[in-house]
Amino acid sequence: MSSARDQILGSIRKSLGRGALEGEDAARLHRRLATPSRNLIPDRTAGLDRDGLARQLVGKLGEAACSVDEVASMAEVPGRIAAWLQRENLPARLVQAPALANGLDWSKAPTMEVKTGTADGSEDTSVTPVFAAVAETGTLMLLSDAPTPTGLNFLPENHVAVVRRSQVVGPLEDAWSKLRAARAEAGAAAAGAGMPRTVNLITGPSRTGDIEQRIQMGAHGPRRLHVIVVDD
């Protein structure tokens, strides 16, 4: 208990003309936090089936200046990444998230130099999975964890994100529900009410408008965000 803390809380209560909340008043607010309810959600993705959500996502990713590739299975992903790097005239080397080490079979792209781990700033391209993809706005949700380090999302100039169709949700609220469910299942409630250290919502590649309001890609984070949507 610091005195500054008590004084600030005291000043708030004095201005609001009441003491600390107690009894049913406090209980009501505790319930609001424990069982969060949704506010108004735009209709945009309401009633969309799996195909509809995927189409909406792909459209919104394009609006956000991502490039998109759609493939039929995980087995195709390494080859498609290799082809994309070649098309963009980028070096055939990358760093992949540990989470993908068993999922991607690079033997079909033998010229590719692949390392696994986080980024140290020397890599040109990273490949990561996502936790969810929000079709409403073309937003990817990525969580920090040992198999999915955050550095991969920011340090390389090119970021390739692999999205499975089953991970696509409609509004952002659906991604929060999915996160709460996953963390409860993992029993990770101890730290930060189940939140990982970092949750990144990413909508397109890095950009700035700070020079005379002209938009430029690649301000600090990736210049290119390439999303591969996998039909699973």
Binding site: L9, R197, I211
Partner: protein, 482 residues
């Protein structure tokens, strides 16, 4: 930051004469205004979301103590620390102690208006710690030793020719004859320069757009990714935030996020919206070892329960200044402190006093565009009128204004005298100005005629014309009356 709000009139006068500034300000309309209009047209629920956003903030402010305590509990559970600070001095000292414990020489900074409010950079420099701004706009103005002139586009007042000069002067290790013309050239150069600084930094300081009571998370919203690099690569992550940034849940943040980027830059979502909760976890390959939230009051708790409470709903999108004719004419520096435009005209006197910043609420045409675009429906013109009233009541308004208002109120409370005097004035001015149709100068109206002509009245008052029209309608001969 030392305020120059007292000299708003002189500041504004200089700004209007500054041709370079006027050129830079010309980009606002095609940039922010048009993009916002388009993205809002694509979301039919936008008006209803404004209501929802306002209601969330009103609920939070009415229970602010409760939500701040819950926020602190969650931060602590996640291994972080909340530092409660009443004043800018307490906040600066808290940050300095965190830096000293880590023997910090360099700190990187994401964009934070609260860091501007507490004058953090000057303070760190005075204590032998180098602050490095990493947002491109902030980096530019740090090189120029200027304060930001806009809350989301801090270097909006600077042209690219000026930036080229600054870069050549400060990046003296690079080829002096390199090309610095296209925006791309500047972005690439700053990217390369700042890369090294992220890795050198001992501490990374960011602001916060939201604090989440449900989870103890702090949230930043950026397009560049600089705030993310700042917190990822610093050994300690320090968040500076004012206490009204708290919202109850992730779902509440989702609602306000739908309003924020659309109102600010005309995007549906900014590129990076990042939720940070505590320090890195066991097994994580990257992330900061410490997590601190410096929670600043600085007069905000005293705004609750007053006619200015609604200002605390502000989410700092800058829509009000992007649509303000006064801001567009004079830019942000004229306002003289951290927060410019209509939101600054209300917030600045609340935080540093009406004696210091009493001019700012007068810097308004009362056109009402700020309120009409505010995503949180803050009644900015109404609050500026409250401040005008206070300025008058405290005797801070100049003598001429007071005399004029007294004369007007004397007349306005005596209807027949008012009609007689205004009738005489209209008749006299009408007769005098009939030939030219306008006056180049008039006694007691120098404030107007000094910069433009006053059109001559046609000789009759509005009252007279209205009475005639009503009479005509009653006789049934008025063709246009409805």
């Amino acid at each position: 930051m030392q305020s120059t709000s007292r000299s708003f009139k002189q500041n504004a006068h200089h700004a209007l004469q500054d041709a370079t500034l006027q050129r830079a300000l010309g980009n606002i309309k095609t940039g922010f205004q048009e993009k916002r209009r388009q993205v809002i047209a694509a979301l039919p629920e936008f008006e209803a979301l404004r209501d929802a956003g306002r209601d969330i903030k009103n609920h939070t402010l009415a229970n602010l103590d409760f939500y701040l305590e819950r926020f602190e509990e969650r931060v602590t559970e996640a291994g972080g620390v909340v530092h409660w600070c009443r004043t800018p001095a307490e906040a600066r000292q808290t940050i300095l102690e965190i830096c000293r414990r880590r023997n910090a020489r360099t700190v990187t900074k994401g964009k934070s208006m609260i860091a501007e409010e507490i004058g953090l950079n000057e303070f760190l420099e005075a204590n032998a710690i180098e602050p490095v701004e990493t947002d491109l706009g902030e980096y530019i103005i740090q090189l120029r030793h200027e304060p930001p002139s806009h809350i989301i586009a801090p270097a909006i007042h600077v042209t690219r020719e000026q930036i080229a000069d600054d870069f050549r002067r400060h990046h003296s290790d690079l080829d002096p004859n390199r090309r610095l013309e296209e925006p791309r050239d500047f972005t690439d150069e700053a990217r390369a320069k700042l890369r090294d600084r992220y890795f050198q930094a001992d501490v990374g300081i960011t602001g916060a757009n939201f604090l989440i009571a449900e989870t103890g998370s702090t949230v930043i919203v950026t397009n560049e990714g600089n705030g993310d690099m700042t917190q990822l690569l610093g050994k300690a992550h320090v968040v500076v935030a004012s206490l009204e940034k708290v919202v109850p849940t992730l779902d509440d943040a989702a609602t306000i996020l739908r309003l924020l980027a659309r109102s600010a830059t005309g995007q549906e979502m900014s590129v990076y919206t990042t939720f940070s909760t505590g320090p890195r976890r066991p097994g994580d390959l990257d992330g900061p070892e410490e997590f601190h939230v410096v929670l600043l009051d600085n007069g905000r708790s005293a705004m609750l329960g007053t006619e200015f409470q609604e200002m605390l709903r502000c989410i700092r999108c800058a829509a009000c200044m992007n649509h303000c004719p006064v801001y567009a004419a004079v830019g942000g520096h004229a306002y003289g402190w951290v927060y410019p435009g209509p939101m600054g005209a209300v917030l600045t006197p609340s935080l540093i006093g009406v004696e210091e910043a009493g001019h700012l609420p007068n810097a308004s045409t009362f056109c009402g565009r700020c309120e009409s675009v505010c995503p949180m429906r803050i009644p900015l013109p109404k609050m500026m009128r409250h401040y005008r009233t206070r300025e008058y009541e405290r005797g801070l308004a100049p003598g001429t204004v007071r005399a004029g208002l007294s004369l007007w109120s004397f007349l306005a409370t005596r209807p027949s005298l008012y009609r007689f005097v205004t009738g005489m004035a209209a008749w006299t001015l009408g007769a005098l100005g009939r030939r030219a149709g306008r006056f180049k100068s008039l006694p007691m109206a120098g404030g107007w005629t000094g910069v433009r002509d006053l059109p001559a009245p046609e000789g009759r008052t509005f009252h007279t014309l209205w009475a005639e029209r009503q009479g005509a309608e009653r006789r049934g001969s008025g063709g246009t009356g409805r």
